[in-house]
Symmetry: C2
Subunit: 226 residues, 2 copies
């Protein structure tokens, strides 16, 4: 029985990884659809999201089955509930990719405004964070996960720059407001994807080290102590 549980746990882990790869793919396609003005690719992303949603439910059900059937120990249980959480985070990243794809379709109908200098950098960073978070999860590598956390500031920095640039452009050329607002939303979507990748990385660190890096709990506990 123990042997069997380990196999199923491995299967759950593999499924989550495959879910992650699919989400990474839609993020890549959605941003490519925007940067290369390819609305057909954006449509693909929107369609693909339905598959991802079904895959989320499949993983969710398997995880619940494993808990109910095997009554795992505290540490295996924590692994499974973390998979539930990561699964949900991945599905939300898929939703963000859909939002980007929808904006791409809107923007691609209008004449190009200006080269997307910093936005592709944000997209590449966000995708890289997801890829590394998944890798850290598969290898149970807390150091790799820590590197993901560090890059959250990088993407925030790029985004701040994008915001300022786009606001300046909109102020100088009011006809760019519609497209500028859409691009700010894309920038925000990428920030959310990075945040969700950060969540996954935090969960990996928690699982491998047993330290709750969520909300930097120790510092906070000191701060709020009476």
């Amino acid at each position: 029985m123990k042997r069997h549980f380990d196999d199923e746990l491995k299967q759950l882990k593999d499924k989550l990884f495959r879910m992650g790869l699919q989400v990474e793919e839609v993020i890549a396609k959605a941003t490519k659809a925007l940067f290369e003005r390819d609305s057909k690719l954006a449509e693909e992303v929107i369609k693909k999201d339905q598959e991802i949603n079904l895959y989320e439910i499949e993983i969710d059900e398997l995880a619940h089955e494993l808990i109910a059937l095997y009554q795992p120990t505290a540490i295996d249980l924590r692994f499974i509930t973390m998979v539930l959480k990561m699964n949900n985070d991945l599905e939300r990243m898929g939703d963000q990719a859909v939002n980007i794809a929808e904006k791409a379709i809107q923007i691609n109908q209008e004449p190009p405004m200006k080269p997307y200098i910093d936005l592709p950098k944000a997209a590449e960073t966000a995708r890289g964070m997801l890829r590394d978070a998944l890798d850290a999860f598969m290898k149970r590598d807390p150091d790799k996960a820590k590197q993901v956390l560090e890059r959250d500031d990088v993407i925030d920095g790029i985004n701040d720059k994008v915001y300022v640039e786009l606001q300046t452009l909109m102020r100088d050329k009011p006809e760019t407001v519609r497209q500028g607002v859409a691009l700010i939303m894309v920038s925000h979507n990428l920030e959310r994807i990075a945040d969700l990748a950060t969540n996954i990385a935090e969960d990996v660190i928690y699982l491998t080290r047993g330290i709750d890096v969520r909300h930097h709990i120790r510092e906070r506990r000191q701060e709020t102590a009476p």
Copy 2:
């Protein structure tokens, strides 16, 4: 032992409800801080969020303890993992309230741009959705939960209007771009709060009726069938 488990389950439920009330309060305060130009109130929201984050971890730990100690049946297990999910959704709503509070502090430093006609309506709707989702959870009332889902379109409608209005304003008066973008982000934050309230309502329906309304799964399965 069974008796004890029921008590602890009730305690978990009550804790989640109290978490929800705290989140509702910060949403109310954050939006009030913006609409009544009260930056001190906005600072309170930012501080309060740390307490909410700690409360999330407390609920998370209790839920895991219950699963590990009592090895609940499939249905109780599903209830507990739903609490984990709702707990996470509530914490994310708290983060959205912080985002609104930060934008309020920024906007309150500048002269007022125009009356916030539709934004307060969106804020009231989002808060109402959270309140009703919590209520539906406590009373295990799927009909009340369904009403929450229906209001998601209402808030999307208000937000679309806010977007169009603000974009027009920014195009006509380029000096309003900075504030206009900040308000669009607030509008987006409210939309996210409503989405998260919708998630909770969906979970309540799932728990009480056993129907997976997430992603409207049945329709989707038909659509993606070969």
